[in-house]
């Protein structure tokens, strides 16, 4: 199953940092996200896109996780040659992640 089935996401940017929210549609799925969608798992999933560290914040009250991805090289930098300089479409990349 893809994350897309369980959660929605919006991507934002600050400089060369991409910020991805991951919000469970149903709060009962939040524990599964907490367990499966670790910072390491996201780093591996986005390998080749994000070259820096990935930090995860837990916002239990919203049944949401927040991923702060440093040096999201294809994104963010104002001088980037990438198509999607703001990394706006990274939300869809995150939701492609397969979880058991």
């Amino acid at each position: 199953m893809k994350l897309y089935e369980l959660a929605h996401c919006r991507a934002g940017d600050k400089g060369n940092t991409s910020i991805l929210s991951l919000i469970a549609y149903r709060s009962e799925d939040y524990p599964l996200l907490l367990q499966k969608v670790t910072a390491t798992a996201v780093q591996q999933h986005l390998a080749g896109i994000v070259s820096g560290s990935v930090r995860r914040y837990e916002v239990a009250g919203l049944a949401a996780l927040q991923f702060v991805c440093e040096q999201a090289l294809l994104t963010g930098v104002t001088t980037s040659l990438a198509m999607d300089t703001h990394g706006k479409a990274l939300s869809s990349a995150l939701l492609e992640m397969e979880i058991a």
Partner: protein, 448 residues
């Protein structure tokens, strides 16, 4: 006396935002304040460049187009308008608003907030956050603007002005300032400022909380997206607020739209730093209180930073781009041949040349569905160059693939962009002096 509920609408969430929703809000929102947030980092640097060319320019290019329909409405409805459309030249923007008011024979008072332009105050040794290098190592710096906050805006609101025009102000502060002014909050009431910042942050991107940038057919449906209404907040004295929109407009306000916007661009949900407060969003509570009405409370805050964040823009040359499409059998192979040809023709002069295959790998550099074969593929070439003429070569070579490339190329386009680099630094609050100037459209009552 402060009324128990303050109604604030968000009539624009970025420089190129749609025009009509603000008019609907001003007409039907029963608003106290209408806020137009129109200033991106790159926008202010470009505006500064245009001011260097002509001292009367440098304000938002859409100023007249946005304000002409709004001025008579806000005057009629008693709505006060707050906007950062001053961009690099708030004083000139203020004069334009007065000019519009005079043409319309409206008695309008405008308060202009200046002091965000701190280019002159920055020492060459100022440390750039992103690189750790001193400012002096950056050539061609065009602009340096401090993110001012509520404190700088309060005198403008106290003046009784109908329109408050600023340059660079932190986006949530544009909304928080009227709340603080209206309820008379103290500037060290961190808990309330934290919750007020939640409200400002939720509103700052306008339609992004009413169903804009949200729809995914079948999964997250948004009714009548074409007529998306922009949000308004009904704010209580404790800072809690109901987020809603004008009845009959398109869009949706629900838990999901509010959550997406609450977390949008937040690098630490427990420490959202603005010039006013360090806000903590982790305890925020959301409750549905009716159709398209969500109550938000529970934001808290901690003491503000004693520094301002400064956004610095520098000229970084030009980006040349070219695109061409291939379709049908063997489309990808022909697009890749075109890419190799472009590479041979340009790589020597443009070592950082980038080639993308749109439809395959252009957005994420890799495909999460690697075995799919697209019917059509679009080659894109891009490179940076110091001059406009050099950058134009990229598009020229792509266009030349018509008669000098593989079979069946079509729909070639070329594009050139002036590139502005943005970096940031910190500046002690005491180094930025903000000032408010009041102008009136009745020439006999002009005060400065």
């Amino acid at each position: 006396m402060a009324t128990p509920t303050l109604r604030i609408g968000a009539g624009a969430g970025f420089q190129g935002d749609r025009f009509e929703p603000a008019v609907v809000l001003a007409e039907q929102g029963n608003l106290d304040y209408l806020v137009l947030e129109c200033l991106a980092e790159r926008t202010i640097a470009l505006a500064q460049k245009s001011k260097l060319g002509d001292p009367a320019m440098g304000y938002d290019a859409f100023l007249r187009r946005r304000l002409e329909p709004l001025l008579p409405l806000i005057k009629k409805r008693g709505v006060r308008l707050v906007t950062n459309m001053g961009a690099a030249n708030p004083a000139a923007a203020g004069r334009i608003v007065i000019e519009i008011a005079r043409q319309m024979r409206l008695a309008i008072k405008v308060a202009v907030v200046t002091g965000d332009d701190v280019l002159a105050q920055l020492s060459p040794d100022t440390r750039i956050i992103e690189s750790g290098r001193p400012l002096r190592t950056y050539a061609n710096v065009i602009s340096a603007n401090a993110y001012l906050g509520v404190e700088a805006m309060l005198p403008a609101l106290a003046s009784g002005a109908d329109v408050v025009i600023t340059g660079r102000v932190a986006d949530p502060s544009l909304f928080l300032a009227p709340i603080v002014h209206h309820f008379g909050w103290r500037l060290d009431d961190w808990m309330r400022l934290g919750q007020g910042t939640v409200v400002g942050h939720l509103l700052e991107c306008a339609g992004q909380i009413t169903g804009g940038y949200f729809a995914d057919p079948g999964k997250k449906d948004v009714p009548d997206l074409a007529h998306l209404g922009f949000p308004l907040a009904e704010v209580q004295v404790d800072g809690s607020a109901i987020i809603g929109k004008v009845a009959g407009t398109g869009g949706v306000v629900n838990f999901a739209t509010v959550k997406e916007q609450l977390l949008y661009e937040v690098t630490d949900p427990a420490a959202y730093v603005t010039p006013d407060v360090v806000a903590d969003f982790t305890q925020v509570r959301i409750e549905g209180v009716g159709t398209d009405r969500v109550r938000v409370s529970g934001g808290i805050g901690h003491a503000r930073s004693e520094t301002y964040k400064v956004s610095i823009g520098y000229q970084a040359g030009f980006r040349g781009e070219g695109e061409i499409s291939y379709a049908g059998q063997n489309a990808l192979a022909r697009a890749e041949l075109a890419g190799r040809v472009i590479d041979e023709r340009l790589r020597e002069d443009f070592p950082d040349l980038r080639l993308d295959y749109i439809g395959c790998n252009s957005v994420h550099g890799k495909s999460f569905a690697p075995h799919s074969v697209p019917y059509e593929v679009r080659l894109r070439a891009a490179a940076l160059a110091a001059t406009r003429a050099q950058a134009e070569r990229i598009g020229e070579e792509v266009e030349a693939l018509y008669t000098n490339g593989p079979a069946g190329g079509g729909a070639a386009r070329k594009h050139l962009t002036e590139v502005i680099g943005i970096v940031s630094a910190l500046l002690a609050r005491s180094e930025a002096d903000s000032k408010v100037t009041v102008l009136e459209s009745d020439p006999h009552h002009e005060t400065v």
